[in-house]
Symmetry: C2
Subunit: 305 residues, 2 copies
């Protein structure tokens, strides 16, 4: 759609799109649920796609939960999925460290929440920081010194609603002074709907601060980086051209799908409205857009007619 | 020095430089004092320059102190200066707001420390936030709402060692949702010597986070922005070509001097060493460099000889 400057078309042939796709990747917030409630018709849509033999994967930049915690959240909302169907940026951070053979004797310093720690734990990677450092302070003043663990070989930064100067300083010193220490960002989202009423600072806020103080560009593992896409394509041996990314954000979800060579479907049930999609300032054009995920049920109605 | 790619020369004719200059602008940390102690010979150097009729101004990106607090710090170290000789980025923030005619019924939300608040107070500008919000929390969860004052017309962000998610969220909501609200950064320094032992995250760290979450570029009033230089040149009616900026940092002090059209003198008594000055990667070349400020005393010895 970019080449000729035309705008993304409304999805009119749901059956055709489903037919062309083996695997659907779904963003979660604004696609599956909104303001803590499942969007009406989503359960039926997922059932239909499974019945048609499609593989379903849920890909979220939210790093505060682990895959297991996400599975429980889905279950609490009446949606049955398996842990293996969820790909969170917390999992991606652990997956990235495994993919580069992160040494067993090295540790990760975490600026973030429980989800990252659970995924590191499951991957057998040692860590410190996180919620435990939430109340720590740096003593200011001449002659003070903050001792850091010389075995920290990576700093993982994600959303952290207990961010403080201690964590910023510890993370910065690790990146700047521990030889070879890498800086991983779960995602760079500016804001997110932690509440349905307002947009609050998201993971990119914590990343933005440490990017400045460390003078280092992070390795981003969440959307729109293609790390997760490559990981999934590789793990499940799926051709990316037979994948469709469904999301509510142009700058993460749709860009992620396009960067990976997938089909892309924007839903208007989250942060992007029709006005911003069609704004002349918008340069990201999905293959199709539709109001909400249950619009795919038209394929079933078409088949039944 | 940039044009021909030549490296900055060592200052050999102190008397000649002093003769060409009416006003000396000094950075403070790493130039006047280091690790909480005045560099030996600095008091004598300042006395000599005053005796020769030179105007002296102290220009610092440190926003945690007001001019009055800096004056007290100088006094505690045995250096007598007047409040009017100090230009801190806390003062620059208040000065900028005055220069644009910030409305009397509007308020400033402060992410920073006491210095900014004292300067706003002295400028008669209403403010909220700052140290008072150091222990506040944002309640997470669906349906939550953080109410912000609709009269906040500017957010000033500087170094804040009590930075937290509450301040980040409050500041972000003001910038994103209060019509016309501006975003002012006292400085963008990545790290600073709050201790002589390590480099810790500085004001740019807090600015970097809110730059991401607000999706807004700040107006920077500290070095290397020329706001303070223009302010000083205007206030004291000094030609910039008769000013010399003396500092220990290439990316703030020397860039600041060059951007303002001043002469520039790098001292090696702070963060920049000879190796980084002469590194092929360095693109910022001062007019001269010398080991430390008291090297200017050579002018006196020369005159006496």
């Amino acid at each position: 759609m970019e080449a000729d400057g035309k705008q993304a078309p409304l999805l009119t042939d749901a059956a055709g799109l489903i037919n062309d796709v083996d695997t659907f990747l779904f963003d979660v917030d604004g696609v599956i649920w909104r303001g803590g409630k499942v969007i009406e018709g989503v359960a039926e849509t997922l059932d239909m796609l499974r019945d048609m033999g499609k593989k379903l994967l849920f890909v979220t930049n939210n790093s505060t939960r682990s895959r297991k915690m996400f599975q429980e959240k889905f279950r609490s909302l009446g949606l049955a999925i398996s842990e293996e169907e969820v790909f969170s940026s917390s999992f991606a951070a652990a997956g990235y460290l495994q993919s580069i053979g992160f040494p067993a004797d090295k540790k990760v310093y975490v600026v973030g929440e429980e989800g990252i720690q659970q995924e590191l734990e499951q991957a057998g990677i040692q860590y410190l920081g996180g919620p435990e450092d939430g109340e720590k302070k740096v003593e200011m003043g001449s002659g003070k010194n903050l001792e850091i663990d010389p075995n920290v070989g990576a700093v993982v930064v994600g959303f952290d609603h207990h961010i403080n100067y201690y964590k910023m300083t510890y993370a910065t010193l690790c990146i700047r002074t521990n030889p070879g220490c890498i800086f991983i960002a779960t995602n760079c989202d500016s804001v997110a709907h932690f509440t349905d009423k307002q947009e609050w600072p998201a993971g990119g806020t914590m990343v933005g601060s440490i990017r400045v103080s460390s003078e280092t560009e992070p390795i981003v593992v969440g959307k729109p980086s293609t790390f997760m896409m490559d990981y999934l394509a590789n793990k499940f041996k799926i051709s990316k051209s037979k994948m469709c990314m469904v999301g509510d954000r142009l700058d993460t979800d749709i860009l992620f799908g396009q960067a990976g060579g997938c089909k892309t479907l924007l839903v208007l049930s989250g942060v992007t409205d029709l006005k911003s999609l069609h704004s002349p300032k918008n340069t990201i054009h999905p293959d199709f857009y539709t109001n909400e995920l249950p619009d795919l049920l038209a394929a079933k109605r078409g088949a039944a007619a």
